[in-house]
């Protein structure tokens, strides 16, 4: 390519970079499935409609949970709804998912989960045994995570107006004094860790739908992340910059959100990312990148370089974190972008997806 062309390309790229860096605007005339997929369309809703409307300082952080301080006591608060289809899948079910998903949003915000509320939207005709099974799953998961269900609500809608059952939760936790986390605290040189193999939950749910005539021994990784967070806080304390629960949109989306929030770049080494062979195989066939597939028991942590080894060791000491590993690092340029060093030896951008090929995964 001639020098002039290269300059023109660079100019075009800079123009695009500046367009990308602008806050997303919500301009659609109606809601489509893409708005719920955790990618770019979701971001237009959150950053283009919700955040400007409510404008609270805590919401502006775009963390997994918000924070409030009452009489000097720092609390984390989160809310979530679960519409996963089917409601039972290998490795878990909607009830267990609801508890762990809520608890994990608190945990990665540096809060010890304490209690949650539960609202159920039930479809007329739902077998009582299905409901009973989910209630038991909720109770078991809550006990395992050390939280109490302290309030609830029930609504029933006509057959066809909901799909079996939806679960809505609110969780509350106490901010841990060891935690000094912020989505805006990432600095060049920080290391990026994942707490284990990725892509299991999304793949398990997708295969459980039976739409692809594909079978693979994949189970959802749904579990409480508080033990992992607890260990990380012990090991890294103030060197722990930020964490994210890599749910809908997967690790790729979590990284992109934080790169934007902190105004930094990230470089991920693809070969270092742990992907179970069965997940890799299913994703290969379906043309999906495991980096974008949902997890329900995996976190991404950003740690100052000097604390990285201890942080990995801490994660590995916890059940479910045995395969925790460093996958890359924070860079300065180009701000807001996540780059991948491919296993093949090339480099590329790993952007937010527009929508999600796999709706209703959680």
């Amino acid at each position: 390519m001639s020098g002039d062309l290269a300059t023109r390309e660079q100019h075009a790229l800079e123009l695009i970079e500046s367009v990308r860096a602008k806050p997303p605007r919500f301009r659609e005339s109606q809601i489509t499935m893409a708005h719920g997929a955790g990618g770019k369309a979701s971001a237009t809703l959150i950053e283009g409609l919700f955040v400007p409307a409510f404008g609270s300082v805590s919401l502006n952080q775009l963390g997994d949970a918000g924070t409030v301080t009452i009489d000097g006591l720092g609390l984390a608060l989160t809310t979530d709804s679960f519409v996963v289809k089917p409601i039972r899948f290998p490795g878990g079910s909607i009830g267990e998912l609801a508890v762990n998903g809520t608890v994990n949003d608190l945990a990665v915000s540096g809060a010890r989960p304490v209690a949650l509320t539960l609202a159920l939207v039930l479809e007329e005709g739902l077998p009582a045994d299905d409901l009973r099974a989910e209630v038991e799953a909720i109770a078991r998961a809550a006990e395992a995570a050390g939280v109490e269900v302290v309030a609830g609500d029930t609504k029933v809608v006509e057959r066809g107006h909901a799909d079996a059952m939806y679960v809505c939760t609110t969780g509350i936790g106490v901010l841990d004094p060891r935690a000094t986390l912020s989505t805006r605290s990432l600095r060049p040189g920080d290391k990026i860790l994942v707490s284990g193999p990725i892509g299991e939950h999304g793949t398990a749910v997708m295969l459980a739908r039976g739409e692809f005539e594909l079978e693979a021994p994949v189970e959802s990784d749904t579990r409480s992340l508080w033990p992992a967070v607890d260990a990380l806080l012990d090991a890294a304390g103030p060197s722990l910059r930020c964490m994210r629960d890599a749910t809908r949109g997967g690790v790729a989306s979590a990284l992109n959100e934080l790169a934007r929030a902190s105004g930094v770049a990230m470089l991920v080494r693809e070969a270092a990312v742990p992907v179970p062979p069965s997940v890799a195989g299913a994703c290969e066939i379906l043309g999906i990148d495991p980096m974008y597939v949902a997890n329900e028991g995996k976190l991404v942590a950003f740690v100052a370089p000097e604390a990285a080894d201890e942080a990995v060791a801490a994660l590995r000491s916890v059940e479910g974190g045995e395969e925790a590993v460093e996958i890359g690092e924070v860079r300065a340029e180009p701000p807001g972008m996540v780059l991948v060093e491919t296993a093949f030896g090339g480099r590329r951008v790993m952007d937010l997806l527009v929508g999600d090929p796999l709706p209703r995964i959680c």
Partner: protein, 372 residues
């Protein structure tokens, strides 16, 4: 992953890259077109470009099935999908392609029953499960996917299905390549040939490229090593003064194609006199329609399809991108008015589209990264 990782081996890639470097003539600039969107996707996804010397330029070709669908056909599809009682099925990528009046995704949100499928057989299954509904499958793609549509139609016929039709938008690869080679504004040194199409039609149909147009073509696979090796084989032909069809993808592509698949295509499809391509206009004998024997399964026969013709938006330069005349980033609206979130042109929609691949995987700031 066996049978996959072997073709993504970084060390072999570096070795091939070194061989390529030693094959290029100093001071000469090479323009090589990869015909398929699948190749484009691989090149960006794995950063294959990074392993090539600067003097070897890859130009993206017209072989992306979603990218070549004109806006009018999308509007036709939406018109069918909005009819009462219709279940409209299509591949995921097609849902976001803009017609003159929005996308299938918009039509879905407005109440049309539009479902994403991974195979035409899924559409047939939906038809079986919903005997009271009309199920339409939006068929797109080159000779690669046409046989699966054909087999589905043969099965539908054998089962006597009465509520299943296909909105056929299958196209063939040779006519647009000919059109490209006739185009005066394009100088190419060789072609990375369409591996998947060749699994069906073989490598023989591409002999006209060296014989009539004096350009080498190497039918190549879709893993990063395949593409690199394909480029290397082209450069070697040029260095040795050869000009022929070579087959890099021998593990899948027989030189004469797949006779069974070709027979199936022959039975189910017939060539249209002409078919409109996005950005390229009408190309003679480039599109497939259902044959007389399958007229009962033809959406365009069963339904009142408006047959809309919509001119491409003025700002959109998909045609030039598809022909490789300009790079995606040279388009006036690339990355500003036209993005994967709000695409104007088809090339920005499919993951195989040159613009989407470039935007999503980017050549972004490579130099900046290198120095940071």
């Amino acid at each position: 992953m066996r049978y996959v990782d072997e073709y993504r081996d970084a060390e072999l890639g570096r070795a091939l890259a070194a061989e390529i470097l030693s094959t290029v003539e100093p001071g000469r600039h090479y323009k090589v077109m990869e015909v398929c969107g699948g190749h484009t996707h691989t090149i960006y996804k794995y950063g294959v470009d990074d392993l090539l010397p600067e003097s070897v330029e890859l130009v993206h070709g017209p072989g992306c099935p979603v990218c070549v669908i004109p806006m009018g056909r999308v509007d036709d599809a939406i018109a069918v999908a909005m009819q009462d009682g219709v279940i409209f099925t299509c591949f995921g990528d097609m849902m976001r392609v803009p017609g003159g009046e929005g996308t299938l995704l918009d039509a879905k949100a407005s109440g049309a029953d539009i479902r994403m499928v991974y195979s035409p057989l899924d559409a047939l299954r939906i038809a079986r499960e919903n005997p009271e509904r009309e199920v339409v499958f939006f068929a797109v793609g080159f000779e690669t996917t046409a046989p699966s549509t054909a087999l589905t139609l043969m099965r539908a016929k054998a089962e006597g299905m009465e509520n299943f039709t296909v909105f056929c938008n299958h196209v063939t690869i040779v006519p647009p390549l000919k059109a490209l080679l006739e185009s005066p504004d394009l100088r190419l040194d060789g072609f990375v040939g369409p591996g998947h199409v060749a699994t069906v039609v073989g490598a023989r149909p591409f002999e006209f490229i060296p014989s009539q147009y004096g350009r080498p073509i190497v039918v190549s696979g879709f893993e990063p090593l395949d593409v690199l090796q394909g480029v290397h084989m082209i450069l070697r032909q040029l260095a040795e003064g050869r000009c022929e069809v070579e087959n890099q993808y021998k593990r899948v592509v027989p030189y004469d194609g797949n006779p069974q698949a070709l027979r199936v295509l022959e039975e189910v499809f017939t060539l249209r006199p002409h078919f409109e391509w996005r950005g390229l206009g009408f190309i003679a004998h480039s599109g497939l329609a259902l044959s007389e024997a399958y007229a009962d399964f033809d959406t365009e026969v069963r339904f009142d399809v408006p047959g809309v013709r919509v001119a491409d938006p003025k700002a959109c330069q998909c045609g030039e991108v598809l022909k490789g005349v300009i790079k995606p980033w040279e388009c006036k609206v690339f990355g500003t008015a036209c993005t994967p979130e709000r695409p104007i042109g088809t090339c920005m929609v499919s993951s195989e589209g040159a613009c989407a691949a470039y935007y999503n995987f980017g050549r972004f700031a490579r130099e900046k990264v290198a120095v940071s």
